[in-house]
Every structure is written in C-alpha cells, then in structure tokens.
Amino acid sequence: MRPPSLESLEREAESIGADESPAMRAPPARRWGTLAKYWRIFRVSLGERLVYRGDFIIGTVLRFLPMVTTILLWEAVFKGSGQAELSGWNLYEMIAYLLLVHVSRMFSSMPGLAFGVARSIRDGDLKKYLLQPIDMLAYLMSYRAAHKAAYIATAALPYGVLLYLCRGYFTSWPDASTWLAFLASLSMAFVIGFYFEACIGMTGFWFLEVTSFLYVVNTLNFFVSGHMFPLDLLPPTLAAILKVLPFQYLAYFPSAVFLGKIQGDALAAGLLIELAWALTFALLARLLFRTGLRRYSAFGG
C-alpha cells in the first residue's frame, strides 16, 4: 500500500466521497462546522503525506535533473537557428519559462486523481463515502490541497536553490501587481486542474476501463497546456486555438504572466476567463457526479 514510485510524489486520491453536498445544503449557521470538517480532512491528509517525507525530498531533487538537459537542448536550438528570438521569446525567457512551468504544474497537476476516481468507482471504494454524510468532491479537494501544501512546503527549498542558481535567466523581476496576478492565476490553475481531472475520472461511471483514455488525455495535455514549450512557438492559428481552450491555464498562462508576456487588459481578461473556466469545470464535475451516481445506483454498486 506504500506509494512506491517517484511519480507518486503527490499521489493519490484513494478514496472518494458522496453525492449530496452538506456544504451546499447546510444552513448558514452550520457552514462553519462544515468548513471545519474539510479543514480537519486537510490536516489529517497532511499528516498522512508527511509520513513519507524521505520519498518527498528525494523525488523533488530528482525531478530537477531533466532540467539540465532541457537547458542544453534549448541553447542548442537557439544557436542552431541563428536567431536571438523565436516567436518573441529569447533564450533567457525560454529557460525561465520552462522553470516557471514547473511551478505552474506544481499547482495544477493532479497525479492519479482521475485514475483514483475511476478506480474507486470500479472497485467500489466509492461506497464508503456514499454511506457517510460527506461530499466526495469537497473531500477530495481538501485532500489534494493538503497534498499540494505538503509538497510545496517540502519542495520550496530545492526549488529556491534551483531558481537561485538559475537567477541569471530571469532578466527582469515582476512588480507587485504582476506577482498578485501570478498567484491568482496559480490558485485558479489548481482549481481548474482539480476539476478537470475529476471530470475525466468520472468517465469511470460509464466505462469500466479508462487507462488508455487517461493516457491520451495526459499526453495531449502535456502539449496543449504549454508544458513542453510556450504556445507562441506554434503556428499562429494553432496557438490561437489553444489559447481559447482551458488547458493553457494549467501551465502556459501563469508562467507567461510572471514573465510579463501578458499585461494590462489582456491580463485582466485572461484572469476573468480563467475564473470562468474554473467555475465551468466545477459545475461540470458536479453534474457528471450526479448523473454518474444515478447510473451507479441503478446498475452497479
């Protein structure tokens, strides 16, 4: 049962909650009690996560090794192209971007969430929280938030060291309002990442085996979110399409904001659209859960 691999660093949603949301139905006086419930879940999850702190630290350090090759690769690409800028990105911005993408993904990636949801539907773990007065999505969210907090806290030191070593790639430092926008975009990246993965996991209500579907989604996501390189490097039409889709908020958008690539009205509009996507996915996840449970209760269980 011990989380085995390095990929499992931020893993994992083992367990699942229920349909009716006490948070939504509770009268105002009980709202604080409900919040306390999920705060407690947060704290217990945090405790669970920190049991494996050795796993954390090693995993975090190892995660940066590929960065060295990435830097060498892009230096070669720029040298080979003979240009100082590619689609408006110079080498320094590019490397800084790729470092920042790690920070964005630290908030938006949800390793194992979709798979965990699908598996608990399939294996019947779903039951255990259907039986208790608890809301599955709120439960999983608290659980994830705890894992993220633990992960970020542990990763802060190695990240700090790495960013310090690479400080030469950051030619300018963002001002206070950019910082604020960056943090806002990261928080919403967490929400979008969470509900998006949750929605994917809910397909488990309809399909018994979702592994290959998840694989396709993850691979595609790596590309369309801008995890590999800034979306601007793509042909303009494709880049324009990808910037309409919600996935850019998982990696590209926060990093570009930090580097000052998106400013003024575009920034304000981007943040609003990000918020809209966050809400859309939250609602979609609820809807899928409701519909899925109806099916589950009728056919399976």
């Binding site: 419930k37 879940i41 217990v44 669970e48 019947g124 255990k128 007065p133």
Partner: protein
C-alpha cells in the same frame, strides 16, 4: 415502529455476456448481449428495534445486494425499503448519520495513519460534539480492548485488531442500525469470539439493531436468535434459528457406543450408518422414528453410552441452501 421494512425488494442487474474467443470480443464491440440477473427477488421482511438478525445464504444469493439496497447504495428495481423512517436511496444526511455499514473485506480507516486520526476524521464527518465523541471513543476502546493500539499506524495492526478499529470507527457516531457484511471474515477463532462478545455487549447496552451476514455459523449461533435465509434472490426462511432444525432437520444423529471392540452387525435396518469408529457408531435416523429405533437397539444390543443430536447446523443450512425454494416459513419473528 420497525427499524427496517423491506417490501418486495427486487434488484435486476444486466450483465454483459462476453462471447468466447477473439471474434467474440470483436462482436462485443459492436453489439452486446446482456443477461438479466435477479440478484434479489421480492425480498420482504421487517426488523424491530434492538433485534440482532443474521442474514444467511450461499455466495451470490443476494445478501449483499439486499444490504446495499437497505443502505442506499443502489436503487431497487422494484419494491420499497424504509430504514429508520427514511427511503435509503435518497441518502439524506439525517439517515446517514444514524446507521453504519461495515464490510469485512473493505477498510475505511486511513492505512498510513494511526486509527485515532481516522476516528478524529469521523468526528468531523459526522459533526460530533467533542465531549460526546471523547466519551464514546473511550467506552468503545475499552470495550474492544485496543487502548494501546490507537496510536499505531493502521497498516501495522493485525487483521483482528484492524477489524476492531473498523467497528469502533463505525460506532463512534452511535448509529441506531448496524449493518455488518462478513465482519469476522479471515479472523482466527479468538478474534472472532472477541468481536462476537463485543457486538453482543454493545447490542445489550445500547439496544442497537444489527443485521449481519456471515459464513461462520459460530457467529450466527453466538449472536442471533432470528435468521433470514436467502437463496437465489428469494427469502426462503424467516424465523428462529432453532426453527431451522425443526423445519429442515428431518433426521437426528444417534450416537451409540457398544460394549466390546466393534460395532455389532445389523444396524443398517434402523437408519443410515454414517460413521463407525471402533465400538462407536453414528446412525442417522428419521426424527419421527428416534424413540422406536432407540427402543429396538437397546433391546437387542448392549449399549454403554448413547446420545441423540441434531445434525450440525452448518450442514443443515447447506441443505436449506441446496433445496432453495422450499416456500416461506412463517415462524415467529
């Protein structure tokens, strides 16, 4: 008012029938054939507050399906259930706060954390006042005798200890109804007996209603007077455990010990000779002929010792299962 009212509960599953071989699998991609499986078929019974009832049946008979309908995990295809005054499938919080379902094969505790942390979590999930929670937890820990173990990660506990923790967790919110699915599965005899004792004590103290399934007749004999027997989705017996013997035990076991070293010949005329061991013989006799047979045997042979027994309960239950549909027994509840 009854705590459980099951009325004509029926659940029909659609099961995909995969054809043999690769071609069959391909055909399955396009057009699938389904078979309807009646997991529960017109199950009707009521349970009054404070009762401890056993739910018996072979694997796949519909026990778990019925428990799932009663706990609101699945909707019945037909029929209705009322549990604690609620329709279970609505999964109202008020309903979920008042019962617990414990499955012997599923664990609800957090694997890597001490049980005490999971208990705290339950306190939050059920919004229990701190003082009540502390008292209940203390009582339960004492009753199950696991005081020193609650700070150990659950993964380091033995199966029996873990089951005790599961039961404590399930009882923390003081449910009025406890549904137990194979609570002693995989446990050794000592752990089984401890858990039986605790459940019994808890039932006596708090008047909690319990409905349990088990494959261990020892559990059933220790805990329940009343049993429901289900086979192939149908309820075939609802009554006292002792009544099963009367209704289904058509024969008795007569144990005879004769003087001398061996069993004398000629016993076959009185009944079926099921076992001989030196001078000891087991004779299966029709229950109505027991007196007559004993008289005749005592007249004819020198008998040192004898006893008349019902066949072992699990054998009898197995027969009930095999015979399946033998009609409803309307015995006392």
């Amino acid at each position: 008012m009854p705590i459980i009212e099951a009325n004509d509960l029926t659940k029909v599953y659609r099961v995909y029938q995969k054809k043999d071989g690769f071609l069959g699998s391909l055909r399955g991609l396009v057009k699938r054939e389904y078979k309807e499986v009646r997991a529960a078929d017109g199950v009707t019974f009521t349970i009054e507050p404070g009762e401890m009832v056993a739910f018996l049946g072979p694997n796949g008979a519909g026990k778990t399906t019925t428990l799932k309908m009663l706990s609101g995990l699945i909707y019945p295809t037909r029929g209705t259930a009322r549990v604690l005054g609620h329709v279970p499938s609505e999964r109202a919080d008020a309903f979920r706060r008042r019962f617990a379902l414990v499955m012997g094969q599923k664990n609800q505790l957090w694997w890597d954390l001490p049980a005490a942390d999971s208990f705290q979590l339950h306190r939050e999930i059920y919004s229990l006042p701190a003082a009540d929670f502390a008292r209940t937890q203390g009582e339960l820990i004492e009753m199950f005798g696991v005081g020193a173990l609650t700070r150990q990660p659950v993964r380091e506990l033995s199966l029996g200890e873990r089951m005790k923790m599961e039961l404590i967790a399930a009882l923390l919110h003081r449910p009025q109804l406890l549904l137990l699915d194979e609570p002693t599965i995989g446990l050794d005899v000592i752990a089984q007996v401890t858990i039986q004792k605790c459940l019994k004590e808890y039932n006596a103290q708090r008047g909690v209603t319990m409905l349990l399934t088990s494959h261990y007749m020892r559990d059933v004999e220790a805990l329940c007077k009343r049993v429901l027997v289900i086979t192939r989705g149908k309820l075939v017996y609802d009554g006292l455990l002792a009544g099963i013997t009367e209704q289904f035990g058509q024969s008795k076991l007569v144990k005879l010990q004769f003087a001398g070293e061996t069993v004398p010949p000629g016993l076959e005329q009185y009944g079926e000779l099921t076992k001989t061991d030196g001078p000891v013989a087991d004779l299966k006799v029709d229950r109505h002929r027991v007196a007559e047979v004993l008289g005749a045997v005592l007249d004819r042979y020198t008998v040192v010792d004898m006893s008349v027994q019902d066949p072992p309960l699990d054998q009898m239950i197995a027969r009930v299962f095999e015979e399946g549909n033998v009609g409803h027994a309307s015995t006392v509840a």
